[in-house]
Subunit: 155 residues, 3 copies
């Protein structure tokens, strides 16, 4: 039976993807006691296709960047579910780190990152309110528009 958080996701029309398997010698998450550290997730959709490719400020719009950030957040949730089985066991979204693939003159990274932050707060309410850092990076793996990493506290 789906928990409260997963019902919420279903109500929002969100199906969690199969969590992506890293293609290299690392893992999508490491749990140390109640601390769950998640690898950076790029903005793939449930078919593994990039939601937005390229740079903000050079072809990718803020709106598409927000969708990309939201996709990263969904991918983080898929990994959290793989790690702990039930998203209701998340006691706090501690931190998100947002990496925005940016042209040098792009300064709206915070708006883009809201696509990820808003999802967390919609889904987890107050438990979803997290610390975050947002920076514009020179490039990202596979030319993804956005990558988001996370730290969650879990029961």
């Amino acid at each position: 039976m789906a928990g409260t958080v997963e019902k919420k996701l279903a109500d929002m029309g969100i199906t969690l993807p199969e969590p992506a398997t890293p293609v290299a010698n690392y893992v999508p998450f490491v749990r140390v006691r109640n601390h769950l550290v998640l690898s950076g997730q790029i903005c793939t959709d449930n078919d593994g296709k990039l939601v937005a490719k390229g740079k903000l400020g050079a072809g990718v719009s803020v709106e598409d960047g927000q969708k990309a950030a939201r996709a990263c957040a969904i991918n983080l949730l898929a990994q959290v579910k793989a790690a702990i089985g039930d998203l209701d066991k998340v006691s706090r979204v501690v931190r998100l780190g947002g990496f925005i693939n940016s042209a040098p003159e792009f300064t709206d990274g915070a708006k883009v990152m809201n696509g990820a932050s808003d999802l967390m707060v919609t889904v987890f309410a107050d438990k979803g309110r997290h610390a975050r850092s947002t920076v514009g990076v020179a490039s990202l793996p596979l030319d993804a528009a956005v990558e988001v990493e996370g730290i969650f506290e879990v029961d």
Copy 2:
């Protein structure tokens, strides 16, 4: 009554600003037990104005970058005080992450970041000696010259 750390700040002529309120769905800090995770702070002064705007290596000098990094550190301290009430309860500055808004050829990020590191060590002495990572990023929110995030251990 101000504690030892705040007296030190006053002696240095530093007044902590009103801690900035995030303009989005995130929070400036999350505390998990004795661990305080702080959102990236940009280099605003006590009036909310950027201390330095633009890129190191393309208009912003190393000296101005150092002032900007120092301002980020002061903003972190304002958030720490908001979180725990008394800066004397800081048992260790664990880590600072420095993001320097950089032209591609700028390689003096470490010098810039010293503006933040020096402040922490001046204020907290040995408790202020932290691990750090410094990287040059393609862009930052609002075109801030520097953003610094932090992890503090608190009583």
Copy 3:
């Protein structure tokens, strides 16, 4: 007497360097209980010379980038040994953060970062399997091609 991990390193022909001393007001690691937070290490060899200098996608090949990432990982291990004395006390490599000095069009950062990840898994086996984030940054201190930071869980 060298422990299992150090024998493994010796078998691989790896001698740990003297751990680099930060040239500023920060420290190479901070330990909080069983949590070891390591400063970003750039890709210097045992003589302190950069293994690769400049940008991926603009002069530095993926192969040289991988060697650089591996050198960063070795430098992390030197710091871990300095912190805890015996690498056999590492219970988990929790997270690596990879910063790849990248031209804007370079998208193979994940391959580069494998140079660090592969070393950790070779040396620590399953304990070496870590969460990671890899991003392409605009510049790095001293124009290093790669910088890697880490979090280790230790006994």
